[in-house]
C-alpha cells in the first residue's frame, strides 16, 4: 500500500500509490505522449508479454483505450468479450480467471460491476499483475490519473511552463470542485484520493443522497454553495449521473438535479476563464452539463480521452516492469 513506485505492482486503488508513485505515472506518461505523436506509434517495451482485458461490464472507450495502450507497447492482448463468453453460461469469476491465467498471462485489466472484484482477483492469480479498470462503485484509478495528467498539462500550458518533470507542483494547492453523484461514482472516489494526494484542496458538492456520509476519508470536504465554489475553483470536475447504478432514484428527477447542480451557461460564466473543466465521459448533455458548456474551450473532455492511451501505457509499462539493480552501460 502507498508505494513510491508502481513498478512490479498491482493498481487496484489510488491508495496503492504514494504521491511519489503518482508523480512517476504522470512522468512516464509524458514519454508516451511523445511516442503517440510519432508516425510509428509502437515500441517494443512489452514485447512477448500478454495482457488479458476482461470487461465484465461494457465500456467501449476504456476497453479500447487499455487495449490500444497494450498494443502500442507491443504486448499481445487477449480480450474477453463477456457477451459471448462462458461467463454468460454461469462460470464463476474465479474459474474464469483461473482459465485465463492457465493460458499464460502477465497482466489482467479488469472491469467489473462489483466493488472489490479486482482485489479478489489479485488474491486468486498466481503471478499476473492486476489493473483495476473500474470496479462497481469503488474506484477507477486509471481515469483519475488521466484527469490529473490532463489537468497538469492544461495548467502548465496556461502558466507557460513545461508539464514534464513538474511533479505534482502544478496541482499542489489547486482548488478542485467535484460536482454530482459522488456516492455511486468510482471516478469521484479515485479523483478525490488522487487530487488530495497531489496536495490539491478538494471540495465536493451534490444532493445529500448522493454524497458519502464522510468525504473526509477521501481527503475531501463537503461544500454547499455551488455558485460561490464555482467562482473559486481552478478545476471543476463534473460526473455523469449514473442511472444504471440507480442514482436517478436518489433525486426526484434528473430535471431537478440539472436545475440544482447542472452546469448551464449561466453557471459556466461564474467559472474563472483560466480554470479548467473535466468530465470522464460520456457526457449526458442537458443533465450534468448543457450542450454549450460541453463545447466550452475550458472543457478538457477531448484531451482526457486522448490522454487515456499514454496514461494506460504508463500503468501497464510500470506494472509489468520488474524492480531490479541497474547496471550502467
Amino acid at each position: 500500500m502507498n508505494a513510491d513506485s508502481l513498478v512490479g505492482r498491482n493498481l487496484l486503488s489510488i491508495n496503492d500509490l504514494s504521491a511519489t508513485g503518482l508523480a512517476e505515472v504522470l512522468e512516464v506518461a509524458e514519454s508516451f505522449v511523445e511516442v503517440s505523436g510519432r508516425s510509428v506509434k509502437k515500441i517494443p517495451a512489452l514485447k512477448g508479454k500478454v495482457v488479458a482485458s476482461l470487461f465484465f461490464e461494457e465500456s467501449t472507450r476504456t476497453r479500447l483505450s487499455f487495449e490500444t495502450a497494450a498494443k502500442r507497447l507491443s504486448a499481445d492482448v487477449l480480450s474477453l468479450a463477456v457477451a459471448s463468453s462462458s461467463v454468460k453460461k454461469g462460470e464463476s469469476l474465479k474459474d474464469t480467471i483461473e482459465t485465463i491465467e492457465s493460458l499464460g498471462i502477465d497482466a489482467v485489466v479488469l472491469r467489473h460491476r462489483s466493488s472489490g472484484a479486482p482485489h479478489q482477483v489479485a488474491g486468486w492469480v498466481k503471478g499476473a499483475r492486476v489493473i483495476n479498470a473500474g470496479d462497481g462503485t469503488h474506484e477507477h484509478p486509471s481515469q483519475a490519473l488521466i484527469d490529473l495528467f490532463t489537468v497538469r498539462r492544461a495548467l502548465a500550458e496556461r502558466q507557460g511552463v513545461e508539464s514534464r518533470d513538474s511533479g505534482l507542483s502544478l496541482l499542489k494547492g489547486a482548488k478542485v470542485l467535484i460536482i454530482g453523484d459522488i456516492n455511486h461514482s468510482r471516478v469521484a472516489r479515485s479523483e478525490m484520493l488522487a487530487y488530495a494526494k497531489a496536495g490539491a484542496q478538494v471540495r465536493v458538492i451534490g444532493p445529500g443522497t448522493l454524497l458519502p456520509s464522510d468525504v473526509g476519508i477521501f481527503g475531501a470536504q463537503r461544500a454547499d454553495d455551488l455558485e460561490k465554489e464555482l467562482a473559486n475553483a481552478d478545476v471543476v470536475s463534473l460526473l455523469r449521473m449514473q442511472e444504471e447504478r440507480g442514482s436517478g432514484d436518489f433525486v426526484p428527477s434528473l430535471h431537478e438535479f440539472s436545475a440544482l447542480y447542472g452546469i448551464d451557461e449561466r453557471r459556466a460564466a461564474l467559472i474563472r476563464p483560466d480554470a479548467v473543466i473535466t468530465h470522464p465521459g460520456p457526457m449526458v448533455r442537458g443533465v450534468e452539463v448543457s450542450s454549450a458548456v460541453a463545447d466550452d474551450p475550458r472543457m478538457l473532455v477531448r484531451q482526457q480521452v486522448a490522454n487515456g492511451v499514454p496514461i494506460r501505457m504508463a500503468i501497464l509499462f510500470l506494472a509489468l516492469s520488474t524492480p531490479g539493480e541497474s547496471l550502467h552501460g
Binding site: 464463476s92 469469476l93 466493488s115 472489490g116 462503485t137 469503488h138 458519502p212
Partner: protein, 440 residues
C-alpha cells in the same frame, strides 16, 4: 442408552456456583453426584480434571440447510459440528428449501434430527415461504411441538403482518423470533454502512435498519403482550432498547452471535466474502458494547447463527456472495474470551450457552412440549436428563477450516488460536464426543 459413564475430577457448574464433584450417569440420567465417588464396575471414566462440567450447550440459531442445501450442510453434519462445539441441542432455522412452513417439512427435519448425534428442534416459519405475507400454520406446527417461529434470513417487513403473527402466537404460547433488519433501509447493502463501506464502494446495511425494527417490534410486543425473541443483535443501541424494554416488563429475550462480539467491519477491507453476514459486522464500539452486554447479563443468550455455505456461493464478488458464516465449533472459546478468559464466570457462561437458550427454546425439564426429546439446560441434579458437556477452559487450539465437522468451510476464524476446548459431550446419557473425538 444403557451406558454407564463416570465424569471424574471436574468442576461442576451449577445454577448457583461451582463445586468439585464426580458425576455418574446411568440409563440416560444423572444417577449420582458427589465428591470422590468410587468408579462403578464397567463404567466409562471421563477425565474432567482442569475442566468444567455443565449442561450441554443449546443453540437457538443454527442453519442446518436440510432440506434443499445439502451441499453446504445436512442435519447429520450440522449435528456433528454441534457435538464438537459442546452442544446437545440445536434449533434448526426454517430457511430451508422448501421452508419449514408446513407439517411435512417440520416432521421431516424432526425425523432427521432423531437420527443425528444430538437433539434437533426445528423453528417454524412465521409466514409461508418466509415471504412476509400470509401466516404459516403455526397452530399445526405447534401440535408437532414447535414453539419457536421465525422468518430468519429476512425480518418480517410489514408491521401489520408482524402484529397479526404476534396476536396469533400469543394465544398458542409460542415465541416469535425476529431477524431485525428493515430491508427498505438495508436492501442492497452488503456490509455495515460506515466510512469504511463508503471507501470500499460497498453499499451499506446501516445500524438504523436493525434498530428501527428492534424499536418497532418492542412496541408491538408491548402492545400485543406476545413473547418476542430478538435474533443476532449487533449494535449498542439495540441492546439499550432491549434493556429498557425489559425494565418496562416487556416479554423479550435477546441473543448475540459470536462474530458480532469478536469481529469488526475492518475484516471486510480485503473484500473477502467470508466476512459477509447479515446483520453485518459492525464497528469496534458496537463490538465492545456487545461483549460488555454479555458480562452485564443484558443479553440472554449466545447463539451461533451457524450459516454453512458451499464454496461456490462464497467465491464470488463481495456484493454477490451469500451472507453468513460458520459458528458451532468456535462459539465456546469465543464466548469464554468475551467473558474475560481467566476471569470468566463459568456460571454466566453456562447461562448464555445452555440454560437461557434452553429456556427460550422451551427445552427444559419444566417445559411440557419437547417433541419427546430429553431436557436440556438444567441444573445438575440427580435424576435429571444427562445432556452434559465437559469443557477445558485453558487449552488452546488453532482453527483449521479443513478439520471442521461441518461440511462447509466458511469459518471466518481459520488460523485463529482459540482458548477453550470441548473435551466430552454427552447427549441423553450417551457419550458422543470423547476427548474431542466422535465415538461413532
Amino acid at each position: 442408552m444403557a451406558e454407564l459413564i463416570m465424569i471424574q475430577g471436574g468442576t461442576a457448574v451449577f445454577d448457583s456456583g461451582t463445586r468439585q464433584v464426580d458425576l455418574i450417569i446411568r440409563d440416560g440420567v444423572i444417577a449420582e453426584i458427589g465428591e470422590r465417588l468410587s468408579v462403578p464396575a464397567g463404567a466409562e471414566v471421563l477425565n474432567a480434571e482442569q475442566a468444567w462440567v455443565g449442561p450441554g450447550f443449546v443453540d437457538l440459531h443454527a442453519h442446518l440447510r436440510e432440506p434443499g442445501g445439502e451441499a453446504a450442510e445436512t442435519v447429520a453434519s450440522g449435528a456433528a459440528a454441534g457435538v464438537k462445539g459442546g452442544y446437545s441441542a440445536l434449533v434448526a432455522m426454517p430457511n430451508t428449501v422448501p421452508a419449514i412452513d408446513s407439517v411435512p417439512v417440520a416432521a421431516h427435519v424432526l425425523d432427521l434430527g432423531r437420527r443425528s448425534m444430538l437433539d434437533v428442534v426445528p423453528a417454524g416459519a412465521i409466514t409461508i415461504d418466509r415471504a412476509g405475507e400470509r401466516s404459516a400454520p403455526m397452530g399445526e406446527l405447534a401440535a408437532l411441538g414447535l414453539t419457536f417461529f421465525t422468518d430468519d434470513g429476512m425480518g418480517v417487513q410489514r408491521a401489520g403482518v408482524m402484529r397479526r403473527a404476534m396476536l396469533y402466537a400469543k394465544g398458542l404460547r409460542l415465541t416469535l423470533a425476529q431477524h431485525c433488519e428493515d430491508e427498505s433501509l438495508a436492501g442492497g447493502g452488503c456490509m455495515n454502512a460506515s466510512a469504511l463501506s463508503s471507501r470500499l464502494g460497498l453499499a451499506g446495511r446501516p445500524a438504523i435498519a436493525e434498530e428501527a425494527m428492534v424499536a418497532r417490534d418492542l412496541l408491538l410486543a408491548e402492545h400485543t403482550g406476545a413473547s418476542l425473541h430478538l435474533l443476532h443483535l449487533s449494535t449498542a443501541r439495540s441492546l439499550e432498547m432491549v434493556k429498557a424494554a425489559k425494565a418496562r416488563g416487556i416479554a423479550v429475550t435477546a441473543e448475540v452471535a459470536p462474530h458480532h462480539f469478536t469481529l469488526t467491519e475492518a475484516c471486510c477491507e480485503g473484500y473477502d466474502p467470508l466476512f459477509k453476514v447479515h446483520p453485518p459486522l459492525r464497528g469496534a464500539s458496537d463490538v465492545q458494547a456487545l461483549a460488555q452486554g454479555l458480562r452485564m447479563r443484558e443479553i440472554d443468550a449466545v447463539a451461533t447463527d451457524h450459516a454453512p455455505h458451499a464454496p461456490e456461493t462464497k467465491d464470488r464478488p463481495f456484493d454477490e456472495a451469500t451472507p453468513g458464516m460458520l459458528g458451532l465449533e468456535t462459539a465456546f472459546g469465543l464466548t469464554l474470551e468475551a467473558l474475560g478468559g481467566d476471569d470468566a464466570d463459568p456460571v454466566l457462561l453456562f447461562e448464555l450457552l445452555s440454560r437461557n437458550p434452553a429456556r427460550i427454546a422451551k427445552l427444559t425439564a419444566g417445559d411440557e412440549r419437547r417433541h419427546g426429546l430429553s431436557a436440556h439446560g438444567g441444573d445438575l441434579s440427580v435424576g435429571s436428563d444427562a445432556n452434559l458437556v465437559v469443557v477445558d477452559p485453558s487449552t488452546s487450539w488453532v482453527v483449521d477450516r479443513n478439520q471442521l465437522a461441518s461440511l462447509a468451510r466458511n469459518t471466518p476464524y481459520d488460523g485463529r488460536t482459540i482458548r477453550g476446548r470441548i473435551r466430552h459431550t454427552v447427549v441423553a446419557g450417551s457419550l458422543v464426543l470423547n476427548d474431542g473425538e466422535f465415538t461413532r
